[in-house]
């Protein structure tokens, strides 16, 4: 490695240094002060890392060791991840402030999870894939169980720990099998060798299927989705937001990179498997969401379905599909962060505001918050004027463009099913009942974050052109 390599690695290095700095300063501060410093330092770390992205992006693409490639695709997704973590950090502050404890370890874990995600999106090798994934997962175990007094939180943490560990071992085994076949762990090398049809042996299939199991678990695709509702419900609301956005987005970005190099459409059985997974995820997520009365569980099941929609664009392949996936991810990030943000700002000290009953008649008590939540839910449903509409339109466009008629029609049907449960929540928001309990006051930081997310949501939905241009100039370089 030389100076140039270190230069392009700067964003990742800053991300690695940030948790160390937070850890050390915690030794000199205490109480509320410690919490505030940890938050400020985390935010500063994320902001600097984001700024570094802009600094290094002219040097992209550059392969740093076989493990990491810093191309514009990685820069784009790192930017998305850092920005989302920034939002999650602010939400976490308003969530944790006033609860017992000093909380600096929470932010250390959050920063580490962000680092893991950043490594994932820049990974070009099975080793960096696995390292990134483990940094992310291990931080998440503790983050999910962070509220130690809550039984649900602990249960969710244990559940995630056991299942994630099992899925990691599948992933590792799968990588070993692929390595046994090809003798390389670099994505580019695998791509070169798998272009030869003779390489498609049962050994390779077994390896790939195991990798899909490992990745499918992280993405909560059916049938590896069982943990999702419990973890979303048990984890603190900002952590759920992080899992739904950053953790899944990073994994998806890596998969997209891998399967763009190794053309998925050339390998029939794999295409078939993903098609089945996509259809199953859409139906399972949407149908099960119909029966939930807990908002976090609804969002959990809806996220399963949304990953199914994303797979439609993923399977379409080509430049249009990569743009579609990226646009969809941006709009989904904004929306899901907003939705969990609402839950966060409405949550009291004791428990999260997550039952449907707590939202009934919210519009009368808190018209603006209800309005923002409505916008988020409508975006999840893909209604015009919101980001979700353009995102869904893009996905359908990619699907039709590659003539994936079955998937597109399943998507259309599911989109209609999903409206039922989103609108049920929206109608509850505007129900005419006198609400008794006053939700906690909105903190200034929380208010600003929600306002920014709402504006972004509308911007993405009304004037998507600038975003598409950014995506096309960065991400589309992958093909």
């Amino acid at each position: 490695m030389n100076a140039g390599d270190f230069f392009v690695l700067l964003p990742v290095l800053v991300m690695a240094a940030a948790p160390v700095v937070v850890m050390m300063t915690a030794a000199f501060t205490k109480g509320r002060m410690r919490h505030a410093t940890a938050v400020l330092l985390s935010l500063a770390g994320l902001a600097i890392a984001f700024a570094m992205l802009l600094v290094v992006s002219p040097a992209a693409p550059r392969q740093v060791t076989p493990l990491i490639i810093l191309d514009s695709y990685a820069v784009f997704y790192m930017g998305l991840i850092f920005a989302s973590s920034f939002v999650v950090t602010i939400l976490s502050y308003s969530y944790l402030e006033g609860r017992d404890g000093s909380h600096h370890e929470y932010y250390i874990l959050l920063l580490l999870a962000t680092l893991g995600s950043a490594v994932l999106v820049a990974g070009s090798h099975f080793a960096s894939f696995f390292l990134g994934l483990e940094i992310l997962s291990i931080s998440l175990y503790s983050l999910i169980a962070y509220v130690r007094v809550s039984e649900r939180s602990n249960e969710a943490g244990i559940k995630y720990l056991v299942l994630a560990a099992a899925s990691s071992s599948f992933l590792l085994f799968g990588m070993a099998l692929v390595y046994a076949q090809f003798g390389t762990m670099e994505f580019a090398g695998i791509a070169r060798k798998s272009a030869d049809a003779a390489a498609h042996t049962p050994l390779l299939s077994a390896g790939l299927v195991m990798i899909i199991i490992g990745a499918g678990f992280k993405l909560a695709l059916v049938p590896f989705h069982m943990w999702t509702p419990d973890v979303y419900e048990g984890a603190p609301a900002p952590v759920s937001a992080f899992i739904a956005s950053v953790s899944k987005g990073a994994m998806f970005a890596l998969l997209l990179r891998y399967f763009t190099l190794v053309d998925i459409r050339a390998y029939g059985p794999l295409f078939m498997i993903f098609t089945v997974i996509a259809i199953a995820s859409m139906f399972t997520g949407n149908l099960l969401a119909l029966f939930q009365n807990n908002i976090k569980r609804v969002l959990a099941y809806s996220s399963i379905a949304h990953l199914g929609y994303l797979l439609v664009a993923f399977l379409a392949g080509g430049a249009l599909a990569i743009t579609a996936v990226s646009y969809y991810l941006i709009s989904y990030f904004v929306t899901i962060l907003g939705a969990f943000g609402i839950i966060t700002v409405l949550s009291g000290k004791e428990r999260d505001a997550d039952t449907l009953e707590e939202y009934r008649g919210l519009a009368l008590r808190r018209p603006w918050i209800a309005g923002v939540f409505t916008a988020m839910l409508l975006s999840l449903a893909g209604i015009p004027l919101t980001a979700g509409f353009i995102g869904k339109f893009y996905v359908v466009t990619a699907g039709v463009g590659s003539a994936l008629w079955l998937l597109v029609i399943v998507l259309a049907v599911n989109s209609a099913i999903s409206l039922f449960y989103y609108l049920r929540i929206v109608v509850a928001l505007y129900a005419h009942t006198a609400g008794e309990e006053a939700a906690p006051r909105l903190s200034l930081a929380g208010g600003i974050v929600m306002a920014v997310l709402t504006l972004l949501l509308l911007w993405l939905g009304v004037y998507p052109s600038p975003f598409i241009r950014i995506i096309q100039t960065t991400v589309a370089g992958l093909v």
């Binding site: 015009p384 466009t397 039709v400 463009g401 597109v408 989109s415 109608v427 052109s465």
Partner: protein, 511 residues
């Protein structure tokens, strides 16, 4: 630019009305009226601008061509070939007038009925109207779909939040029907987009560029079907009409007026503007099926209307019957039938809107829609009785009223294409007489079936309905105003079809 304002004004008016409710619960109503009044002034200004009515511009449908009264084209998402292309011709103009007029009556009819969440109610009402205006102005298929979807959500809220006892079921059913069909249309739009893009290298959603697209026959059929289903659900065509009686019955009065008067018309407009011009060959091959569906709708709607005991449900089924005439007229595709369809669209909007206002007022006063619990109301509410009789007669197609002109011209035009369809449709006019008169008989005459005082119409309601009476009579006696306005637009649609057809044939034969 003026077209953009037509869309922006009600949109902003709705937002303003929503926020103003915290000041005063009457303010949202006046703000909505003011926004509609502004729109109305703009539309009238477009209508009377010199040169338009007197010398209808000719020329083929094309961007910047002479046929548009007003046109605007802005880049929106150039990467995907989406532009904010709005244009207004005589057909759109008539429908816009209907939209804004029924908007007034919807606000007026909810003046006393809606007492809670007034601001949010008017937000939704104004946004439905925004979506509808957008649909009537769009010349870009993406923008069209955008507005098409945009109008559904506020409509859903109008039914789900301010509706009657079965509102949840009705609103969900309405939503799922329209949403699924809308997505089918989206897939068809994208199919057209990609086929045209691959043939010509130009990926665009622009209607005028897609008009001449030459499609393989099988693809043309499936794409046409995607559009047709979306519009058939809205129109509605039997067998996809089942959402309509529920939604119309459970909606608040303003919701019923907008649903029957305007939302159904977006389906008719879509058939006229998109299905036949974009897919002429497939549409003409489809004509026999459309005719059968139309006459089934006419007869079936009328028979079912006769069987209802719920007043609003009865009126809802008459819509199914009347919209059958519109479908017939559109697919007959000659000038007389098209003029009849346009006339029927406008008169049905006004007359049915009025009947829903009457039914809503009765429900507000008596807390029931059951006709068995009414009866003998004439003595108590002579004004309402008289007006109801008038609009019932309009609905059954009495000569001298606009609806007669519409139905008569549709049948005349259809007769040239298919005598059988015209003859069966004529039977629908007879059944209409039966249910309309029977409704008046049961509600306003016969033994007195209610107790207590029922106040008659006051100034506001009488005025609203009086204006509607004048419109119906005016259109019945002087339909030329509509004909001359619609003629250039309809001529151009017909010309476009001929051009698309011959172009398609040449390319097709060339292969």
């Amino acid at each position: 630019m003026i077209l953009l304002w037509l869309i922006i004004i009600p949109f902003l008016g709705g937002l303003l009305a929503w926020r103003s409710s915290s000041v005063n619960s009457v303010l949202p109503r006046w703000i909505s009226l003011a926004a509609l009044a502004l729109d109305f002034i703009l539309i009238i200004a477009l209508w009377v601008q010199p040169g338009f009515v007197l010398s209808p511009p000719g020329g083929l449908m094309q961007a910047g061509g002479g046929m548009w009264i007003a046109e605007g084209n802005w880049k929106w998402v150039p990467q995907l070939g989406i532009s904010l292309h709005l244009a207004l011709d005589g057909l759109s103009l008539l429908l816009l007038m209907l939209t804004v007029f029924l908007g007034f009556t919807a606000v007026a009819s909810s003046w006393t009925e809606i007492q809670e969440r007034v601001g949010f109610f008017h937000l939704n009402l104004m946004w439905v109207l925004t979506g509808i205006i957008g649909v009537f102005l769009s010349l870009d298929l993406f923008i069209f779909y955008f507005f098409w979807e945009l109008m559904l959500i506020p409509m859903y809220f109008l039914i789900a939040l301010w509706g009657h006892e079965g509102r949840f079921y009705a609103s969900v059913k309405f939503f799922i029907f329209t949403q699924v069909s809308g997505l089918l249309m989206l897939i068809a739009i994208l199919g057209l987009y990609f086929i045209h893009g691959r043939d010509t290298g130009v990926y665009t959603f622009d209607y005028l560029q897609l008009l001449g697209a030459s499609l393989p026959p099988a693809a043309e059929f499936w794409l046409m079907l995607g559009f047709f289903i979306a519009f058939a659900v809205k129109l509605p065509v039997v067998p996809v009409h089942t959402w309509l009686p529920d939604a119309h019955t459970e909606a608040p009065t303003a919701g019923s007026v907008v649903l029957a008067g305007l939302l159904l018309k977006t389906g008719a407009y879509g058939l006229l503007r998109f299905v036949i011009p974009l897919f002429p060959r497939a549409a003409f091959e489809f004509t026999p099926v459309a005719f059968v569906l139309a006459v089934i709708g006419i007869i079936y709607g009328a028979v079912l209307a006769f069987a209802q005991t719920d007043l609003k449900r009865l009126v809802a089924y008459t819509s199914v019957s009347h919209m059958g005439f519109v479908l017939l007229g559109i697919f007959a595709w000659n000038e007389i039938a098209l003029q009849g369809a346009v006339m029927q669209i406008i008169c049905h909007g006004v007359a049915t809107g009025a009947l829903f206002i009457l039914a809503g007022s009765l429900q507000e006063r008596m807390h029931t829609r059951e006709m068995s619990r009414m009866g003998g109301l004439w003595a108590a509410v002579p004004r309402m009785g008289g007006l109801a009789l008038f609009f019932a007669l309009a609905a059954l197609g009495l000569p001298g009223m606009g609806n007669f002109i519409g139905e008569f011209l549709v049948m005349l035009g259809t007769f040239r294409v298919s005598a059988a369809a015209a003859v069966i449709a004529a039977a629908g006019v007879i059944t209409a007489t039966v249910y309309a008169l029977w409704m008046i008989q049961r509600v306003f005459h016969g033994p007195v079936g209610f107790k207590g005082e029922i106040p008659d119409f006051k100034g506001r309601e009488t005025f609203t309905l009086a204006v509607m009476v004048i419109i119906i009579i005016w259109l019945g006696l002087y339909p030329r105003a509509v004909f001359t306005t619609a003629k250039p637009a309809l001529d151009n649609l017909q010309k476009a079809v001929t051009v698309t057809e011959t172009a398609g044939k040449q390319i097709h034969d060339g292969r």
